[in-house]
Symmetry: C2
Subunit: 241 residues, 2 copies
Amino acid sequence: MATLDFSPIADTTRRAEIVALLRRAILTGQLEPGQKLNELRISEQMRVSRAPLREAMRELVQEGILTSIPYAGTFVIDVTAKDIDDAYSLNKVIDEFAIARTWPLRDQRFFDELDRRHAAVKQATRELDTTRQIETALQLHGLIHEWADNSVLLETWQRLTSRLQMYFALHQRARNEPVPAEDAHETYVRLLKGSDMRAAQRHAKEHIDFDFEALLAYARGLEQRGSKGAGANRAGPPEGG
Amino acid sequence: MATLDFSPIADTTRRAEIVALLRRAILTGQLEPGQKLNELRISEQMRVSRAPLREAMRELVQEGILTSIPYAGTFVIDVTAKDIDDAYSLNKVIDEFAIARTWPLRDQRFFDELDRRHAAVKQATRELDTTRQIETALQLHGLIHEWADNSVLLETWQRLTSRLQMYFALHQRARNEPVPAEDAHETYVRLLKGSDMRAAQRHAKEHIDFDFEALLAYARGLEQRGSKGAGANRAGPPEGG
DNA sequence: GAAAAACAGATTGTCGACAATCTTACAAGA
DNA sequence: TCTTGTAAGATTGTCGACAATCTGTTTTTC
């Protein structure tokens, strides 16, 4: 018998669908940072009860894109320049790790998948679909994390990605311009196919920094204007054990 | 007016208490890997309804120590040698990062806190309280992540920690021996106080590896025996976008 | 008139019951 | 004997209603 690979059956719970809907709304910026999620209103709009909606919200709180205050409400996380900086600096570290781990596992299937995702980015770029462009670019970057064969790394990257995607979307929405039309990933893909691992790692860092500068500048601008609920969270001794 | 630092008020929802209870039960090994959590039974034992219990479980699923299959149940995650390997290898990377970030931020309060946590480990070691020893040792290691002033890093480390603590507890339970009585953290603390950052980073790696070897060997042994629900999750091209 | 107390409205947290789904056991048919 | 269909029981998913809490306003008191 031929061993056909079936993909997992789709999640059939309302909860899962709600999670997907909410996540998309948040990551595309339809739900803005700081915005409160009214349970009754949303549950009525989605035609579900509050139970699965609340469970979905708990998941997204743990996922790090919502925050919850008991008896006060659940809110889309606020985006500060520091958050972006934190996410990016950690991302650089695990990118380097992911490349190192993926490197010896590269095979034809890897290269094919790399090309496929690269093509998807170029496609979205041609179509001037900014949301899709962000998605596909992050998926291209995600390949090294998926291929590294480290489930914990993959989870970590996915958590980071959620935030990055949110930040990017926010950025794009605010600037409302059709995105750099150039192919910014040509070198990245070429190096991943090559034989110089250190060069690939180095480029990953620099390439990310490139996108990053504009984003950080934008975020700093945001904080100048709307300084609602700021608060410098300086690290300090946490509650003692 | 003197600026007194008040600690946050305790969460007063049942959900939060349930999360704490369940997490502790899992991390100490009272709930064993693979075990199914019966909602009705647990809710009756805790004298709460299923609603807050289910919300708590969703949080722990996202936290990575429970896994959920729709209409089948929620289970404590299975511990494989590969999981441990994954967690540790990533931990080494972010440890290095955390030390680098913490380094310029070290001050007297840092050193005091370092000593405090170190003392807690030694205390637990003297009292032969293995569970507490694991907790305190991880808290000692956690200081560099808390002090690094990077919220995303801290979250990531806390997720990793949950698993490591679970693995350690399992290990200790199985071996049932009173733990290495020596002070394994003397050098670590000394180097963190010193002036050679690279040396501290290097030691963190090696030190962790030291604890790790026994744990990994044990986990491999586990897999030899109970090979229930194995399955080699080789990385492959995920579902296309 | 200002501070404190009491009230009203809205929202979140929790509960008990019902619906949908899965598992198991058992019977029917090839 | 093996497969397929069916029914019973148990468990998870979802719903609507009630309780607890917060916020803002009004009333009372000095």
